[in-house]
């Protein structure tokens, strides 16, 4: 028990990546690791949405988040969202770069239909270089079964590994 791998998905030349059927009653909490987010066709700034019990993308204005971008090339900036249609602050890449990224995200109790799902994510992303530190809450008590990354602009090569954090 501890950390158990659930799924690894990867795709090339896509504008989004859906990772479905990863949350269940087997685990309360999850660790998600993203190591590839590169070869962008255009400058982009990624977002993430949750998938509901039927696997459908939730695009309602129910996403709240708070974070900071600690940039190598300029002053640090804050990023906030109230009643947005997605979480922001995921992959970030300039066109045609192959610098890669490293993103770690914790997802808490997504399968519990009585709670608002929580996410904490940190990443080193591309572009001119920045680290990101974010927290988010999905303000709707419902069963969440997966998630979907979106580039916001253009295509990307992307991967994602999902682990369950297993207790006793």
């Amino acid at each position: 028990m501890g950390l158990e791998i659930i799924k690894k998905v990867s795709s090339t030349g896509v504008s989004s990546l859906s990772v479905s059927d990863i949350f269940s009653s087997t685990y309360d909490d999850y660790l998600i690791q993203q190591t590839v987010y590169d070869n962008a066709s255009a400058n982009n700034d990624g977002t993430m949405r949750l998938l509901d019990s039927g696997g459908s993308e939730i695009n309602a204005a129910e996403y709240y988040y708070a974070g900071e971008d600690t940039r190598t090339y300029n002053s640090f900036t804050e990023s906030t969202g109230v009643a947005q249609t997605s979480f922001a602050g995921f992959g970030y890449q300039d066109a045609s770069t192959t610098t890669g990224v490293g993103l770690t995200m914790y997802v808490f109790k997504p399968y519990d239909s009585s709670l608002f799902t929580k996410c904490l994510w940190q990443g080193q992303v591309g572009g001119s270089g920045q680290a990101r530190w974010y927290a988010g809450s999905h303000k709707s008590a419902e069963t969440i079964t997966g998630l979907k990354f979106d580039t916001g602009s253009g295509t990307i090569n992307i991967d994602c590994i999902v682990y369950g954090i297993k207790g006793t």
Partner: protein, 189 residues
Amino acid sequence: MAGALEIVDEYNVTSSVSSVILGGGSSGSSGLNVSIDSTYDTYFVTGSGIVHSAGGSGQACYLRWTVSGSEDTTSNTKQWAQRAMYSNTSNESRFYTSNYTELTLQDGGAESPGENSCFYLYLNLFADSTRGSALTVHSVFDQYDGARVHSRLGGALDTTAQACDGIKIFGHSTTTFNAGTFRLFGLAN
């Protein structure tokens, strides 16, 4: 070795409690009688789905280090600094270097259905009696009475060179935890 992340202690709140102790030997909430010890250098902690008995801006969530199962309330030995991040206003720096005997994991609690709190911690060198005990925290919690989500990101240190065998997580003096899952893992050396 079963894996790199090994469960050590766990407590699931099924009826109202004023605090939860992970590790701490016989003082631990789980009854498993386990402690943070030299088996691991680093421990990982998760708290999720935490629901307080009442909400509002004063319903905080705190952490204290435990020594031989008892919470360490010695003042002037604890340091912490954090970024407090909000979804609806500018972020703030929060820090305390003296007098405080506890670390603030959050300063608001759940109050409406669905609202809850979550966090993870990394605990370092707690069992080493020759060094202080450090931790890092990242938390997220609902404050929709203020129309926002709130997060704390930072670290804390008990500067006393002593062996700490657990952590105590507790709420505001007027509130209890009505729900929540708390887990302590060891990272295999």
